[in-house]
């Protein structure tokens, strides 16, 4: 490239005349929110506040420093505590927290309660009073309860607001005071990993405190992408420090992610859904070259070879049998895995050697690969690799799996929701089944707490949840189910915006943001802090906190006193602050002190990071695992008893997915589609924030090879489709995704055009509702589709 070319490299390609965006200046959107609004005097209306960033399910928990002037937020900074040491790093907010003004003062904020006027899903509403709205809610709850029983009520999974006092917890508390509602277990995030990790280790607490990463010498980020997904504030930064400390970092992922670019020494693209094939081949190499930790295997593990199979199972296939192909005649060699994974055999050999010999080593599993068909297998295989290479229970090692923090980690909920009188629970992902055939569900579909439901779901109250439409699979199917008013008879949606889920509401309840009410939080999976979230501005228009909305409904249901116990949001926050003080944080200052200090958080340094399984490693007889055998269960008798060896083998196996590049439908749908987290969003939260859309527009990411064979040009509209639906978005041609795979980042808001095509770009328009066999989890990333140019 010549000097002259380089000189103009960054310059805009053309100087555009006119404006492409007609963007109101932020002041105008502020004033749009202010007519007739008088700020209460009780709020300090000027000055800098330090507080927790509004608590969405973002994978981080950070500090914002917010300037309020005349009751309006005018600037957002972040944690600026001095020192910023690895043992207690600053909790610097990401772009989403920094852009919060554009969400807070968004002209589309829900302002008033509204009820549906048109057909369900049509999106036509009229404004009503809070009195009418809460009466409708109370009347519908009582009607459905009397007609169908409490099992017909459902408060679905949703994490759009996720502080201790806001989000769905208050609604659950209220529900439990009036006879309860159908419960659910597991989540859309972690269904397989939370189920499968304990099948190996007897616990999900398999992680070390993160400062221990600095002791590692070799780190595999396997489908793990802390830069984009976060997985704890500073997880990306701590990997940077580990690397600085001498760790070699390898990223295995279908995308060359931001983490691969900024944190890894090497990136290895892998075909989605084939991770277990590579893991199996790594074990083959480690066996072949005698690189296993044999003494650890013989003293701590069950089922690696025939001689350490449990009594009564000696003739079953051991893990070594599977790897060597003793019973199925398929040795899991690197050459075998090359054809499946798309990774050259010699690369697999090299990574196996490196992982087995550079000690201590971490194999960190991401969560995307367990949101797939047979997602349980990759969790089990990763745990087994960590164990047989001798990397568990040591500093700098990592047991893989769920990896909750050793020594006690953050608590997802301390808000007392009470006991649910309804004992029946369904897997979170199977709610559509409970709508259309709830009474037919059995334990085969994961029903727990009862042998049969008395009713299908007839009433849904979605609080901070866009999982009725946008975040649930196969949107066209869900839309059809919800439009049928004989199925779910009443849908209430409580949120801050009119989401695609809100479009299906019979009643809309406007919730305020976390900056407009009190709350608190601790870390996200990792971390040693409690973070305060004081109210700093008044709720916009007639919006109310989730807690307050539920209190108003409680009044109509005659349970106000037992619901509130005489406390408002601030009083509950004080009570929950004290709950942290009485449990994980005895050194916590008094609530009044922390409020007065404007510090925003209490944190403690981690100088001697705790590690999981240290006692077990040192003395397995005295400190057995909570598995049936007390050992690391490579072979699980519990899984063997399920008697479904093809889908739930007792040892981790590579199983070809039900939609796969290796099956017959590939002629129609040759592309694998993945829906990763996107930097500008938290799932579907922030999807409407203009600064974030400017920074990270929703696109279909496609490799140049796949684009060329389809005559797709960068920036042109393309259609990604399968039998379930079609998404139309601009193409972004990028080398950072492997050929044969396209990416439609999850969370963009579904928007159907006249033909039913989704021009908003939700990947769930083409994802499948089929669930995984053991965990009953969402397999939302297992998608085959085709892409072509879209012509209007």
């Amino acid at each position: 490239m010549t000097s002259r070319d380089r000189r103009n490299f960054i310059r805009t390609s053309s100087i555009l005349g006119g404006s492409l965006f007609v963007a109101p200046h932020y002041i105008s959107s502020l004033s749009a929110l202010q007519p007739g609004q008088k700020l209460a005097d009780r709020l300090k209306s000027n000055g800098w506040f330090r507080l927790g960033c509004p608590s969405h399910n973002c994978g981080g928990r950070c500090i914002l420093k917010i300037l309020v002037q005349d009751g309006i937020i005018s600037r957002i900074e972040t944690d600026d505590r001095p020192n910023d040491l690895p043992e207690e790093p600053q909790l610097r907010a990401c772009l989403k927290g920094r852009a919060y003004r554009r969400r807070q003062y968004h002209p589309d904020r829900l302002r008033y309660p509204m009820k549906r006027t048109g057909h369900r899903g049509e999106g036509k509403f009229e404004r009503i009073s809070w009195d009418e709205a809460t009466s409708i809610m109370a009347d519908e709850i009582i009607r459905v309860k009397n007609k169908y029983g409490n099992e017909a009520l459902y408060i679905p999974y949703g994490t759009g607001s996720y502080s201790q006092t806001n989000g769905r917890w208050p609604a659950v508390r209220l529900s439990n005071l009036i006879g309860g509602s159908l419960g659910f277990y597991n989540s859309y995030s972690w269904a397989c990993i939370s189920k499968a990790t304990p099948t190996v280790y007897g616990t999900s607490v398999t992680g070390n405190q993160r400062q221990d990463w600095l002791n590692s010498k070799y780190i595999i980020m396997w489908g793990w992408n802390p830069a984009e997904m976060k997985d704890g504030t500073n997880s990306d930064y701590l990997i940077k420090l580990a690397r600085k400390n001498g760790a070699r970092v390898v990223c295995i992922d279908p995308r060359k992610t931001m983490s691969a670019v900024a944190l890894a020494d090497e990136w290895i693209p892998i075909r989605p859904g084939t991770d277990v094939a590579m893991m199996s081949a790594m074990v083959f190499v480690m066996m072949d070259e005698d690189l296993l930790d044999e003494s650890f295997i013989s003293s701590h593990c069950q089922g690696f070879r025939s001689n350490d199979m449990p009594a009564g199972y000696k003739n079953q296939e051991s893990y070594a049998d599977y790897i060597l192909g003793t019973k199925d005649s398929i040795p899991k060699t690197p050459a075998w895995a090359e054809k499946i994974t798309g990774i050259p055999a010699e690369t697999i050999v090299r990574i196996a050697r490196e992982y087995a010999t550079i000690k201590p080593a971490m194999l960190y599993q991401g969560y995307g690969m367990q949101r797939r068909a047979y997602g349980e297998q990759v969790v089990r295989a990763g745990c087994v690799l960590a164990a047989i290479s001798g990397n568990i229970g040591i500093h700098g090692g990592w047991a893989s799996g769920m990896a909750l923090q050793a020594g006690g980690g953050p608590r997802w909920s301390v808000f007392p929701t009470g006991r649910n009188p309804v004992r029946a629970r369904i897997p979170s992902f199977l709610w559509t089944e409970a709508v259309i055939r709830g009474t037919e569900l059995t334990d085969k579909e994961g029903l727990k707490g009862t042998t049969a439901l008395k009713s299908n779901i007839k009433f849904i109250w979605a609080v901070a949840s866009n999982a009725l439409i946008n975040q649930h699979s196969n949107i066209n199917r869900t839309s059809k189910i919800l439009k049928d008013e004989t199925q779910v008879e009443f849908i209430a949606v409580q949120d801050q915006f009119l989401t695609p889920t809100g479009m299906y509401a019979d009643l809309l309840l406007p919730a305020c943001t976390q900056l407009e009410t009190w709350g608190l939080e601790d870390g996200w999976k990792y971390g040693e802090e409690v973070i305060l979230m004081p109210q700093i501005v008044e709720p916009a228009f007639e919006s109310k906190s989730d807690y307050r909305i539920c209190a108003e409904i409680a009044k109509k249901l005659d349970v106000y006193e037992s619901y509130t116990q005489g406390m408002d949001e601030k009083a509950w926050t004080r009570k929950l602050w004290n709950a942290f003080k009485q449990s994980r944080f005895p050194d916590l200052p008094d609530f009044e002190t922390i409020v007065e200090s404007n510090a925003g958080l209490h944190s403690r340094p981690v100088k001697n990071p705790k590690i999981s399984f240290e006692d077990f490693r040192n003395n397995p007889a005295a400190n057995p695992l909570k598995t049936a055998s007390g050992k690391v269960e490579i072979f699980s008798t519990e899984l063997h008893r399920l008697n479904n060896p093809k889908e739930i083998p007792p040892i981790p196996k590579y199983i070809q997915e039900w939609e796969s590049p290796f099956d017959a439908t590939v002629s129609r749908f040759p592309l694998q589609v993945i829906g990763p987290h996107y930097m500008g969003r938290v799932h579907s939260t922030h999807a409407n924030v203009d600064w974030l859309k400017e920074a990270f527009p929703q696109r279909i990411f496609i490799n140049p090879i796949d684009a060329a064979s389809r005559n797709i040009k960068d920036g042109k509209l393309i259609k990604a489709f399968n039998d379930r639906g079609a998404v139309i978005l601009k193409a972004r041609i990028t080398n950072s995704i492997m050929p044969g795979v396209i990416s439609i980042p999850q969370g963009a808001w579904w928007q159907a055009d006249e033909d039913g095509n989704d021009i908003g770009g939700s990947v769930n328009t083409i994802s499948s509702e089929r669930w995984t066999p053991l965990a009953f989890g969402n397999a939302q990333h297992t998608i085959m589709a085709e892409a072509k140019l879209y012509k209007q």
């Binding site: 490299f9 310059r11 390609s13 900024a262 990774i343 400017e694 090879i705």
Partner: protein
């Protein structure tokens, strides 16, 4: 004269754009106005084996750039109204009272730093958070970086800390302009040049006013 500048650790930048948003918030920038922008550099190709396996040869990294407050800025002599000047701290600034919004500075700057603001009809650009500098605070972008990949200070101090390299592919050569930058290149920067890597996220970085 003092000369302040930025340090950019390109090897540690994840491309998250927190710096860009922190800048927009601090300076109340409309859509399309990007005093700090993050370029995605990408180049290379994919080789397919007969087994179906893939062997990529790629170079990828992110480059966060605002105004480099050059020692010899190209924008300054291009301004027909002498609205652009360098102050005693080495900052390149625009005098709003003289600016006529003609965009000559934008055309002259190879970094895309001056940005037309449609609301005011004037050229605008990074001022290194001059008000923060006076309060001994770091510029908003620098203190925002979750990867701690940005730093700020007097050029001689930055050079002592991080070395004297001022450029990375595909930034223009530095001999004429002398941008106030210290850069740690990404490990794939040499390969990127070899492969003639390009900016692949132009739609995210262009001032469209």
């Amino acid at each position: 004269m003092t000369q302040y500048g930025f340090y950019i650790d390109v090897s540690a930048c994840s491309g998250c754009k927190t710096c860009q948003i922190a800048c927009k918030d601090k300076n109340n920038l409309d859509l399309g106005v990007l005093w700090r922008r993050v370029y995605e550099i990408s180049g290379g190709d994919w080789l397919k084996r007969t087994s179906g396996a893939w062997e990529p040869r790629l170079a990828n990294y992110y480059l966060s750039i605002s105004c480099n407050h050059c020692e010899a800025p190209a924008c300054l002599p291009a301004c027909p109204t002498e609205a652009i000047f360098k102050n005693e701290d080495g900052l390149v600034l625009i005098n709003d009272n003289k600016c006529i919004g003609c965009k000559y500075c934008e055309w002259a700057c190879p970094y895309g730093a001056p940005q037309f603001d449609i609301a005011s009809g004037l050229m605008t650009k990074c001022d290194l958070c001059y008000d923060y500098l006076k309060d001994s605070k770091l510029p908003s972008c620098v203190s925002s970086c979750p990867m701690r990949a940005l730093d700020f200070g007097q050029m001689d101090v930055l050079q002592e800390k991080y070395g004297s390299n001022r450029s990375v592919y595909p930034l223009p050569r530095t001999d004429e302009l002398k941008p106030s930058l210290v850069i740690t290149p990404h490990a794939e920067a040499k390969l990127a040049e070899e492969l003639s890597a390009k900016i692949v996220n132009k739609e995210e970085t262009e001032n469209v006013s």
